[in-house]
């Protein structure tokens, strides 16, 4: 290994809500970042560089907001960097931060990703700032329909994922949706939004932020010696492909397959279904759980929905997916990828509290964006690689 080993030693997130009227944008990112620093037993002056990620600036109406957020994140005198790779940005923010350490440019880096959706209208923004947007659900519904048709999956699979992730969210104090009475019947009877997606099969709009503190190997060793288990990064990858062209498979995009195998190769994973203990996958609409299980070769093609149907992706299943409650329960868009990445780290640190999966040693996190064409993934482990 020519590059420096990287460890996640601090994790923080906000309480995600429909509206965080109690906080400014700066207050929101500060809440997550301060919690990550506290968790890492660090202060602002310990941080060498700050990496900020969020989805389009037009969502809040602040252009290049990292300029203004420099103050709230202790950026004066430090490098402050802004990443934007569509919906995968929360993940790519974590990856760019990790490279600042693996490359030995810095030793301690704070990565923060956020969105304050209540400040604007994401539906409008997702439509490119044009009226009459079909929104993300409208864009993905035809591909979901195509997946159902190709795989022969029964329609209750989507409802089952919607219920499972909301039940997991009840274990996570930070999750936006806390639907104590969620049930298959409620999902099925909720309004049809974008056929086949019902209202309760869709993600919410959230205000929220997630933050991580990453260190070099010495920092990870020091945390471990102090009894605070780090999460070691086993592999990272990003892949992109065009939005559309004849012959593209938007249901199982090649970029997603390539991204996954790049991470598996770095992490020494040859059988992802067996070697990964828990996965946080970007599932903003219920059907994306079986689609990504197949899209990242965790399940064979056409078999992803069967893993769901058999309860294997449930909290007590043998391949738990989204113990945090996932994007279906909290969706501060720019932060949603970061929440997947930090949850994976929480799991292998054994620090996930009520949503801790027993014996999680290797965790996979994934985020995707735009027309299911941008992918960011990492694998983290309890043991140093």
């Amino acid at each position: 290994m020519t590059h420096e080993r990287v460890a996640v030693v601090g994790i923080g997130q906000t309480k995600h809500k429909k509206r965080r009227d109690d906080l400014s944008i700066a207050g929101l990112v500060r809440e997550a970042a301060q919690r990550a620093l506290d968790d890492a037993r660090m202060t602002w002056s310990d941080i060498d560089a700050v990496v900020i990620g969020k989805a389009p600036d037009i969502f809040e109406g602040v252009m290049k907001p990292e300029l203004y957020l420099s103050d709230a994140l202790g950026g004066a005198g430090k490098p402050v960097f802004r990443v934007h790779t569509a919906g995968s940005v929360g993940g790519s923010t974590a990856i760019v931060a990790s490279h600042l350490i693996s490359s030995r440019v810095h030793k301690r880096v704070l990565a923060v990703a956020w969105e304050k959706q209540s400040e604007g209208n994401a539906q409008f923004g997702l439509g490119g700032g044009k009226s009459g947007s079909i929104g993300a659900g409208g864009a993905f519904a035809p591909w979901i329909r195509a997946y159902i048709q190709k795989s022969g999956a029964p329609e209750h699979i989507g409802w089952q994922v919607a219920v499972k992730d909301r039940q997991n969210a009840l274990r996570n104090q930070y999750a936006h949706l806390q639907l104590k009475d969620i049930s298959i019947d409620k999902v099925r009877e909720s309004p049809m939004m974008w056929d086949p997606l019902h209202f309760l099969e869709s993600c919410p709009s959230s205000d929220g932020a997630g933050a991580i503190v990453l260190t070099d190997e010495a920092g990870g060793d020091a945390a471990a010696a102090d009894g605070r288990a780090p999460a070691w990064i086993l592999g990272t990858s990003m892949r992109s492909e065009p939005s559309s062209f004849n012959g593209r498979d938007p249901i199982r995009p090649q970029a997603g397959i390539d991204c996954a195998w790049d991470v598996y190769r770095q992490a020494g994973i040859t059988d992802p279904r067996r070697q990964i203990d828990v996965a946080e996958l970007y599932v903003p609409f219920s059907w994306y759980e079986p689609m990504w299980l197949e899209g990242h070769d965790i399940a064979p093609v056409g078999e992803g929905w069967k893993m769901v149907d058999r309860g294997e992706t449930a909290f007590d299943g043998d391949f738990p997916v989204n113990p945090s409650g996932g994007v279906l329960s909290s969706n501060p868009i720019g932060a949603s990828g970061m929440l997947r990445f930090l949850e994976a780290a929480l799991q292998v640190r054994g620090a996930a509290g009520e949503h801790q999966v027993d014996g999680a040693k290797v965790a996979l996190a994934q985020a995707y964006g735009a027309a299911a064409q941008y992918f960011a993934m990492w694998a983290v482990g309890a043991d140093k690689p």
Binding site: P56, H99, A371
Partner: protein, 381 residues
């Protein structure tokens, strides 16, 4: 001590490692008031040109990074179609920053340092022509306390220039001299937009104020443009080009956002970035992103550049300002001073945010040839 004396010391210690990274090719479109090409087409052209210069194909590229801005493009996810500039099929390993292309280059440099990739492309692009920068730029300020004031970049620059003059660090005449020098240099550089404009200092000083104490000659034009650079790690760089521009230092720093809380006559972040990038000893040419004349004075003083350092021989941001590419153009121009003009040590600088809030410094060096000092061709562009 002069720049040239220092340069000798620097070169003696320069030993290239497998992990060193160099710029091997650059390309830019001329900055123009209105470019008919789309942003994607602009990027396609500069990527083609940069790769052609060193005989590389897109399939040789291990990583690419774009810098662009949704607000300038007037949409959301406006960088997505720009994937076509690199050609993203089969899928590619790439990233995007909502920052000037200079920071895209920073990400590419970091990515190469990770050690598993040898060749990367960094890009910056922007079309300011379709919008009104004066109406848009207040939106990059603190949304609660500053944006509502509608403070545009020209007004901010005027406040900064006023402070600089009143602190005795410059005069209106010096600012006019910077404008005149930039215009003279631009006249010989086909990539610059403001060419053939008035170059007589007294005549410039006789012109009226646009925002006191700034005249039109103290301001940049509104430009469209794009830039790309090819970065290579290790010995491959020397195989691809005769005289690689080795990146011996690259650093960027931010400052407190609110201009009222900063000493606007100084640029602490530029000073730190310059020091972290290895310092300015021996730098012969500096390409500073100073879209306003007074900012050149501030940057020069903050970096501690010697009197004999050639500043902005390209004509600088004052004569061509394709936002989101302007900073990368400065680094490309500094690299070309080594790649083409045989210079030994040059510096490129980029800035972002109100009144120089955030600054990046890139120090570049050329190898000393077997015959000793490479002959500088004397062509400043």
């Amino acid at each position: 001590m002069t720049a040239r004396q220092n340069a000798g010391e620097t070169r003696e210690t320069a030993v290239r490692q497998d992990s060193d990274i160099a710029i091997v090719a650059t390309a830019q479109l001329p900055a123009v008031r209105r470019q008919e090409l789309t942003e994607t087409e602009m990027l396609l052209m500069v990527v083609d040109e940069a790769l052609d210069k060193v005989g590389l194909k897109r399939s040789d590229i291990g990583f690419s990074c774009q810098g662009s801005c949704d607000y300038i493009s007037g949409g959301t996810f406006s960088f997505v179609p720009n994937l076509d500039a690199m050609g993203a099929w089969p899928p590619i390993h790439e990233s995007h920053v909502e920052m000037d292309g200079a920071w895209a280059m920073y990400e590419a440099w970091v990515r190469l340092k990770h050690g598993d990739i040898d060749i990367a492309v960094a890009m910056g692009s922007g079309k300011s022509s379709t919008g009104d920068p004066a109406a848009m730029y207040p939106l990059e300020l603190d949304p609660y306390y500053l944006a509502p004031l509608g403070l545009d970049p020209v007004s901010l620059a005027a406040l900064q220039a006023r402070q600089l003059i009143e602190s005795g660090k410059t005069t209106e005449r010096e600012l006019a001299e910077i404008a005149a020098r930039s215009r003279r240099d631009a006249a010989g550089n086909p990539n610059q937009q403001v060419r053939g404009a008035e170059q007589d200092v007294d005549k410039l000083l006789a012109e009226g104020y646009l925002r006191n104490p700034l005249r039109k000659s103290d301001l940049p034009p509104i430009s469209d443009g794009a830039c790309a650079v090819v970065l290579v790690r290790g010995p491959r760089a020397a195989e691809l080009t005769e005289r690689p521009a080795w990146i011996t230092g690259l650093d960027h720093r931010s400052e407190v956002h609110n201009p009222a809380l900063r000493d606007l006559t100084d640029s602490a972040s530029t000073r730190i970035a310059g020091q972290r990038a290895g310092g300015v000893a021996g730098v012969e040419v500096a390409e500073l992103m100073a879209p306003f004349t007074a900012q050149e004075v501030i940057l020069r003083q903050s970096l501690g550049l010697a009197e004999d350092v050639v500043i902005n021989p390209s004509g600088g941001a004052l004569t061509g300002n394709p936002l989101m590419a302007t900073g990368l153009v400065r680094i490309a121009a500094a690299a070309d001073q080594i790649l083409i003009n045989g210079r030994s040590r040059t510096l490129g600088h980029a800035t972002s945010g109100p009144a120089l809030q955030q600054n990046l410094v890139c120090v570049l060096e050329g190898d000393t040839g077997a015959e000793g000092d490479p002959a500088a061709k004397g062509d400043n562009r």
